[in-house]
Every structure is written in structure tokens, then in C-alpha cells.
Point group: C2
Chain length 388, copies 2
């Protein structure tokens, strides 16, 4: 096990009606004026934005609203938010939405107290401070409500870049009401499920030895997610199933599963290029990338794939490659069963430009990268081709 | 799943040498003068106290030392610590030791900023504030380094009482170096392992439905602990095994396993009476109590015991009571395999005073208590008798 530090001071309030506590918790940040960030309309149509506003009004917190954040959020919205937050002297940012909204809010929070260009942080500059961020979560998937990370795409360069802080960008509070997810369409629900599973895989596929505790946490969460997924798809208002999926999404990415182990993150990087170039849904892209990456590993570093197959899918047998392959097959079957694609064609990419994907990938990540197995251009090309 | 809040702002630093950061982290609390609480000599003999002092010296933090905390810590030491902390104007408490030391430190931390008798807090008064507590952990067992709880025994009344706060008493930082546990004797190591497993069982045996995520976390941690336990007993300086046991002890009790579910805590209450009356080691007592409680449940509320047997011990079969019994048998075998008692006689209690135990239990807990199954005097008597 590696040395680690773990500091996750996000206050989670979980259950029915918790969004109505946003005013009280914002006041306690403390913040008397905030910028609300949200998406393209569903939080308005559902009445959620009204409830959030009412709670802030009741607490005497003033607010500006910046709506219109899209999936795979881009830097232009961040620049607009920073300008608005600075102009109106906001003391905090409240994200009402899913990962794209929260990531945008985090980038604004860092940029609003920085004199330079916020993109500096995505080019390697350390974030020393940020406005406090609060979250009302509507989409369980990205896990951004409990993480110190954010991913932003640069609109003019096809670059989708993530930043990672130990705790500066962790939300101060996250309000998680499973009822808010009842109306999520099946495709988005399923894509979120793949995303949280991928967050666990990125930590599970580690080169670190002696990580039994976090191995078991990862395996347990994967089992729980796959147990609950069919329930939420069969009955979208199954409260307990939605609650389990929602909390799993947070635990998958708030650091709990990664303590003491090097992580991989190759699948996410490879998917980011698919999203940046083809605009695909992140979770759907991961359903294609994850099994392809694992398939490559069968012949190159099989041990953790075999362990996953044995412990998560209960596959027996002594032959690691055979066990691993069967596990990957079960994983693909699971993804298909929840309506996710497992090939580039099913993802709508009929003629993938492999050269462009590989070029962009290594432009962003360097010649060789990856925690579990080193990925150079030859390897990434082979893995992309396994997605066909 | 129940509504819940989870706020665990303890900063964990885990790995070799982390105890040398105590000065820097204490200064950041902020505290320039602290009271160090420790036990009866091993932290002196091992040189740990010298290293902690040196780190505080280097950071310019002044300190007083109160040593001599015993297992099942009592109120007299807390009174001494409160007086010393007040007299010397300490701004924080640093616990160097295991659960007894940390619990004593927490009670002192609450009492040092309170004008009344600190025992008020153990009689129902809410703790509103406390001095910040930092921990250098030497015994993985109680999980107090990550919890908001403390257990103190009143010396004159055989009352062993726990207090529970959401976060006021959570340590601000906890330094966990697995190497500090290499010299723990086998009996103490094993008792700690039972204690952390019991912390998981108290959460696992819940009346709440729809708790798949936390069920799986509990089951995974139990599996991990039972996988690592033989390793630390066979080779006390197995770093990775010690590290896994140490981190499991924290996760077992910092709230991660209990989110969204009612908890039980009957076994702990029943063991507290054994400790208070007979002075037995807490973990060893739990090795006797836990299986007896589960055995009673086979005929009264079997479902979770059977689930534990299936998922943790991989026992197959459709008959819940038979599966549950086999699981309990495997659990007892595991406890025996690590040198723990599973009967009162093996615990050294040849002629248990069942009437006294039951009387004290319900004096402390009321006529009926228990999260998973209601325990009245008839039931507690039956469970105590199953320990013979």
C-alpha cells in the first residue's frame, strides 16, 4: 500500500427534500451573495431552480443565475461565469445539476479569485484558493459533488483537460435527493452508471500491491451498482434503487476507493478524445473504452482483470486469461442490458479517425502515460482498434 | 435507505513516518500549546513520544503531557486532563495511542471549554464545542481516530457510557503509520481485529431496507479484514497487511459503513457491561458477544445473519437458519484461529453474574433497546446465557 492523505471535508445531506436546505447551508459557508450555475432548462421546467431560489431567498442570500451549461462543458461558459461572479461580488458558487454544471462551477470558483486566465490551472498551475462551492445534485454519474476535480473542454482546440486538487475544489456541501433523479431518461441514467463504474475501474486497475481493503471496497461498489441498475431502469421512481445509485456515484469518485493506491485513468483519457472529437456522451463512450482496454490487458497485464472477473462476476477457474475474458464478456453484456453501446459503431462513430484520436491523446498526455500499464501511441492505437 | 448526513472532515495522513508531521499539523489547527495524552509506557519505551515531542518542538508548539491512560478509560483521568488543560491554557489535545487514549482526549477536549462537570455530556447534554483533537494512532481497533464518539467508564458506578457527536469530536487530523503497530502483541492485535469487525456488524445488522451500497461496503471490509488478519499474526512486520488492518479499523467506524441505515449497537452495549463488571479486553469480549447475539437472531430475525453468511463466508443453500448457523460457526472458527475466546469461560469469567449484567445493561440502556431487534431483559438474559 502506498502512503496517502485523505481529506474529504464535504458535508453531504442525503434524502428527500434536502435541496430546501441550500439557503441555510449557503449562509453557513459563509456567503451572502452567490452565483447559481445550471444547465439548459430541465432544472427550470422541473421547478427545482424555483425551490433553490426560494430557499436562498428565505435565508436572505442574494444570487445571480448563469444557465446554459452543456455536456462536455467548455471554457467560454467558465469565462462568462468568472466575469459575472467578479462583477457582482459573489462569495460562493452554487451548482444545480450534474457533473458538467459542477465542473463549470468549480472552474469559475477558482477563476473568480485569480487575476490571470483560469486556463492556467488547466495548463499546470496549482490552484491555491477558490470561492466555496455548494452542490444540488441532479445527475448521479460524474461524482464531481464529492471530488476536488473538474474537467473542461477548450472550445477552439478539441482539448478536454482535467484538473485535480486534493481539497481546494471539493464542494463544501452537496445536497443529494434521489427523487430529483426519477425523471432522468434511461439513456442518461445508464450512461451515469457506466461513468461511476469507470471511476471505480480507474482506481481498481492499480499497479500497487497490498491493497486488499480498497480492492474490496471497489468490488463491493461495482456489485452494488450492477445490482441496483436494472431496478432503476425498470422502475425510474424506485427510491431505494435511485438512492443506492446516487450514493455509489459519490463514493466512486470522492477518493474513498483510491486511498493508498496508484490509479490508472487511461480509459478516461481515451474517452475524453472521443468526446472532444465526436461529442459523444461521456458514459456511453466509457462503455466502449473500458472493455477494450481490459481486452488489451488480457495479453499484457492480466492479473487485476482476472481478479475483477473472479470477485465481481464470481467467475471460477485457474486460467487467468480465460477468467478475465469471461469477466469482460459479462461486463459487456451488462452494459448492453442497460442500453449502452459497446462498439464505436454503436456509439455512432462509423469511420473513426484513429490517427487523430491517437495524436490528440498523446498531445494531451505525453508520449507514454498510464498507471496500470504504460500506454504509448502503438498501444493506444491497438486499444482504439479493439473498440470497432 | 434512510435520509442521512455525512460530514467527516478528519485529515488522514497515512504511511511511514507520518507521526513526524504532528508539529506542522498541530500548528495548522491552529494551536500553539497542546496537552498530549498517552498511555502507560509503551509510547515512551518505543521512542514515539520523543519523536512527537521533537516534531512539536520543531514547529514551535509548546505542550504538557498527561500519561497513564488505561484500557476502559475512566472519568478520573478525564478530570485530571481537563484541569491541566485549563490551568495551562491548552488550545488543542494530541492523543498518542489507541482508542482509550483518544476517547480520553476527546472527553478532555469537550470538558476543557465547558464550565460544568464534563460527565453532563455522558448524561445526555449536547456537546456544542470542544478543543481541536489530533491523533497519532498506535492501535488499530476502536476507530476513534475517525469518529465523533467517545466511551468513558465512571469509576465509582460500573457505568461505561458512550457519547456520539456528528462531528464536534471528530479529530481534526489523524496520523496513521502502520509501522507503529508492528510491536503490538498478538492478543491485542486480534482483539483490535474483533473490535473493528464488531463496528461493522453493528451497522450491518440494520432494520433498514434498500441499503445495497453500504451492505456491500460492510461485507467487503469484513472480507478484507479476515484476509489480512492471519498475515499480521504470522508476520507482525508485514507492512501491507498491517496497513490494510489499520485503514479498515478507521473505515469501520468513521461513518462510511453506516450512511443511510439505522444501526444496532446491542452487542457493544452488552460487551460494555462485561468490561465494566469483569474488566475484560473490549475486543475479546466482543468475540464472545457477537456470535451469541447472532445465534439468538437465527430464531428471531434471521435475514441479515443469513445474508452475512452467504456474502461474507460464501455459504450456499436456501435455508436461511441453516445458512446463518454455518456462517456463525465460521465466524467463531475465525475468532478462535486468531486466538480469541468465544465463550465467557474462555474469557476468564467462570461464574458470570447474569442478573447483575442484565440489571446494569438495562439501567444504562432502558427497558427495551436495539436497532435490529428489540432487546428487553428476557432477551438480553437469553443472549448472555448463549455465551456460556
Amino acid at each position: 500500500m502506498n502512503n496517502f492523505n485523505f481529506y474529504a471535508p464535504t458535508r453531504y445531506e442525503f434524502g428527500r427534500g434536502v435541496e430546501n436546505r441550500v439557503g441555510e447551508l449557503t449562509l453557513a459557508l459563509p456567503a451572502s451573495k452567490v452565483l447559481i450555475i445550471c444547465g439548459q432548462g430541465s432544472v427550470v421546467r422541473s421547478g427545482l431552480l424555483d425551490r433553490v431560489s426560494a430557499s436562498l431567498d428565505q435565508a436572505g442570500v442574494r444570487y445571480e443565475i448563469l444557465s446554459g451549461v452543456c455536456p462536455n462543458p467548455t471554457d467560454d461558459m467558465v469565462y462568462r461565469g468568472i466575469e459575472l461572479a467578479k462583477q457582482t461580488c459573489c462569495e460562493g458558487i452554487i451548482a444545480v445539476g450534474g457533473g458538467s454544471v459542477i465542473d463549470t462551477a468549480k472552474a469559475i470558483a477558482a477563476g473568480a479569485v485569480y487575476d490571470g486566465d483560469f486556463w492556467d490551472f488547466f495548463s499546470g498551475k496549482t490552484i491555491e484558493r477558490a470561492l466555496p462551492v455548494g452542490v444540488v445534485l441532479t445527475i448521479p454519474a460524474a461524482g464531481s459533488e464529492g471530488s476536488g476535480n473538474a474537467v473542461i473542454t477548450k472550445r477552439d482546440g478539441l482539448h478536454k483537460i482535467s484538473i485535480r486538487t486534493e481539497h481546494v475544489l471539493r464542494p463544501k456541501f452537496a445536497l443529494l435527493n434521489p427523487e430529483l433523479t426519477f425523471t432522468l431518461p434511461p439513456y442518461q441514467t445508464a450512461a451515469g452508471i457506466v461513468d461511476m463504474m469507470a471511476h471505480i475501474f480507474e482506481r481498481y486497475f492499480s499497479p500497487t500491491e497490498g491493497t486488499e481493503v480498497t480492492d474490496r471496497l471497489c468490488e463491493g461498489l461495482l456489485k452494488a451498482i450492477m445490482n441496483e441498475a436494472p431496478k432503476v431502469l425498470a422502475r425510474p421512481d424506485d427510491y431505494d434503487a435511485r438512492a443506492n445509485i446516487m450514493w455509489a456515484g459519490t463514493l466512486a469518485h470522492n477518493g474513498t476507493c483510491g486511498c493508498g493506491r496508484a490509479e490508472d485513468w487511461v480509459s478516461h483519457r481515451m474517452e475524453h478524445e472521443l468526446s472532444a472529437v465526436y461529442g459523444v456522451t461521456h458514459g456511453a463512450g466509457l462503455a466502449v473504452v473500458n472493455p477494450a482496454w481490459m481486452t488489451y490487458m488480457v495479453d499484457h497485464r492480466v492479473e487485476r482483470v482476472a481478479q475483477m472477473a473472479r470477485r465481481v462476476f464470481d467467475i471460477t477457474g485457474d486460467n487467468d486469461p480465460a477468467v478475465a475474458k469471461e469477466g469482460i464478456s459479462r461486463l459487456r453484456n451488462f452494459y448492453r442490458s442497460i442500453g449502452m453501446p459497446t462498439t464505436l459503431a454503436e456509439l455512432g462513430i462509423e469511420n473513426p479517425d484513429f490517427d487523430l484520436l491517437v495524436k490528440k491523446l498523446h498531445e494531451n498526455m505525453g508520449e507514454v502515460f498510464g498507471g496500470y500499464y504504460p500506454i504509448d501511441a502503438k498501444v493506444s492505437m491497438a486499444i482504439y482498434k479493439l473498440m470497432v
